[in-house]
Amino acid sequence: MQPEVLERQLERVLLKVDKPGRYVGGEWNSVTKNWNEIDLKVALAFPDIYDLGMSNLGIMLLYDQINQQPDMLAERVFSPWTDMEDQMRQHSIPLYSLESKHAIRDFDLLGISLPYEQLYTNVLNLIDLAGMPIRSLERDSSYPLIIAGGHACYNPEPMHAFIDAFVIGEGEEIIVEVARLLQRMRGASRDEQLREVAKIQGMYVPRFYDVSYHDDGTVEAITPNIEGIPQRVLKRVVTILPKPFTKFIVPNIDTVHNRAPIEIMRGCTRGCRFCHAGMVTRPVRERPVDEVMRSIAEIVENTGFEEISLLSLSSSDYVYVHELTQRIQDEYKEAGLTMSLPSLRIETASSELLDRIGDTRRSGFTFAPEAATERMRDIINKSVSDEQVLQTARDVYSRGWRTIKFYFMIGHPEETLEDVQAIIDLCKAVLKEGRRILGMKANVNVGVSTFIPKPHTPFQWVSQDTSEQILAKQKMLKAQIWQERGMHLRWTDLSSSRFEGFLSRGDRRMADVVERAWQLGCKFDAWNDSHYHDRWLQAFEENGLSPDFYNHRTRGLDEVFPWEHIDVAVHKKYLKEDYLMSLNRETRVDCRDRCFACGILPKFTKLRQGTDEMAWECPPIKPVGERGKSAERTANVTLIN
């Protein structure tokens, strides 16, 4: 369908759907190049609605990288909401790009962002709406090459049948390399193209790897079936964080995070054993304050956004956090610019920092202690003390903020009902502090999610809590928190955690389950009210598989995982050691204070040698005796006593 025809069709349906502004593009800073003058066309998809996808920083970075190439263009596409999908199917409108309204089928490359597993069915739906066969092997080179990247791709296997190639690791540079390769190999067969793609470091092409299984369903081996590709695909990393993107597309409609994000630090040195991001985003790289400040100035100039969000896995651990927040406050207070600093750690969120980021729009602060007993905190390696929690609460309430939000998790390995009771007791103690300071106005919001063991973490071996265990723990929380005045409880729906569980540690056989679930009508699984768990169970049953095999099974120490051939540069040996330590309640300190040789440095020795000492949190490559970070770097960490 030609863009003009498509646009005329669109006009007739757009006023029949909710928020039509999602489907038209035309925003400030969006880039529309002349289609006929551009050689290579890339469509970038976020497989959920516009409102969510527009906050995805990764898509924006790739959009910019590609559009910087004079002979390439990048355009965006998101999942249409169900009302729009109905209209599109009814009027035979294919999935199209927002910028030039070309059918996705007419692009050379389709890059899909996969930050979390709940989006899998939406990916199938997107491919189908674009009028393409959903299985990779059924698409020849007349179709766009479909690649995917993002955190969920560190275990790509459940999606191996649908995606032609996965970006393992940081895709900022790879995507242009893949596009260049496609340009060179126009007219070649898909297989020939993919053989070359598979040689790019960080690219994983599932069709060139065979998986064999033991009789019990566990993986026996994963082996390449062609020459010249690696046994294990090592993730790609950028040596230093690329200059921040500052020409954000400014939506014409309200979106979920309607603000500009700046990544101030990638990775986290804490080593919480449940944390997928903390393991897969190593090494930890910080962005210099001056660069952040220059970027903020550019963002204000380019976008007019009124809010800047300083992103990292643990913002208050950013070494220069005090200097940065002070400078932002000094320079922008009068200009109506606010900053948000998500992911504060209790022990580094000093009262001074709270003062600075506590702007007028904010009603409170959020912290994630995750567990409430010493035993549990040792097991998950997230050590905060009750006293630190209470002191932080006093700091927040005494500055006049009424609400503290805590994130806890239930279902940690070895957790008992006493550990859950401790969560309740701690929240009540916090509320008591709040009431002492603010009276009945004080609030505690308690978000309790359910722990899901993730690949490439020390807990990849453990069994996820059973439904009975989770229900008993949630019942306990509800009984004591739900009705309490001044306390609000939110929890994760049981079926959505089971669902996330089997997709997270799924193997190749799960692809059939994903496909069947989609055929049965599953999509927008990340949205609670559109997740149909019974259809997933039906899909499992029809394929002779059981969710319990994936969720409720303690893996043998030497089991070969379905993601064994994906190398995130953290040794399996290190993870195993950490897992065993957790069983003995042994903890590891912040790896800025002591390197535990997780595997990053041996894997990326050359990269490390080529970087400035301060650019990575990992120690510089030196003889063993001289290792250890200089004292000045840790002195900035503010501890609340």
Partner: protein
């Protein structure tokens, strides 16, 4: 808390065209806020818990309708020169947003929304129309003394009102375009799509364009 003093108040006549017609009135206010910030206008913010820029759009434009006559009042904390300002703002505007005129109005002028009385629209029937049939319908409606309608408010409460005095004029031109002049604002409001339904053309695929806002003298 008192607001900081307003140094100047500007009235911007702007157009909303193309795909920007799918942006709701609430969202257009946000779009404007960012346009003005990109154009470096010293916008005045409200004081208090939730600081908002002091912008005021005269009257909501229903979703899907284009316009060449929208009005926006902007409060500034410093005086700016009007000369060249429209170009500066246009240069910072997304596709579909046009600035036609900027004038200075008295700082203490009434709130814009209270001032709008009526609006004119041009309605194009994209798939063509039987012009005589449409003219008949229009004339019949204009010939009535009263057109009693029932309206439900947000709480579901019923009220009856007479639509006829809210219709100031309706004409069909030789190209089959329908031009209407109807009451708009806080003291009686006629939506063009509602009027089309009343005329029996509720299902027709139309382009609706607002051409003029009438302000109380």
């Amino acid at each position: 808390m008192s607001d900081s003093p307003m140094a100047q108040r500007l009235r911007i006549t702007f157009g909303k065209q193309g795909s920007l017609k799918y942006t709701s009135n609430l969202d257009i206010a946000k779009v404007w806020e960012r346009v003005l910030r990109r154009a470096h206008l010293p916008i005045l913010y409200t004081q208090g818990f939730n600081a908002r820029p002091r912008l005021q759009i005269a009257i909501a434009l229903p979703l899907g309708i284009t316009s060449e006559c929208e009005l926006l009042d902007v409060a500034l904390r410093e005086q700016v020169k009007i000369d060249g300002l429209a170009e500066r703002i246009m240069a910072a505007s997304p596709d579909g947003l046009y600035v036609y005129d900027i004038e200075e109005v008295a700082v203490h002028e009434n709130a814009l929304e209270r001032e709008v009385e009526s609006a004119e629209y041009s309605i194009t029937f994209v798939d063509g129309i039987d012009i005589d049939g449409l003219r008949n319908q229009v004339e019949n409606m204009l010939a009535q003394d009263r057109i009693m309608k029932v309206e439900y408010n947000r709480r579901g409460k019923k009220t009856a009102y007479d639509l006829r005095p809210l219709i100031h004029d309706m004409q069909v031109d030789d190209d089959g375009q329908l031009h209407i002049h109807v009451a708009t604002g806080t003291r009686g409001n006629v939506r063009p799509d509602m009027l089309l339904t009343e005329l029996g053309y509720g299902e027709a695929f139309v382009h609706i364009h607002r051409t003029k806002l009438h302000i109380r003298d």
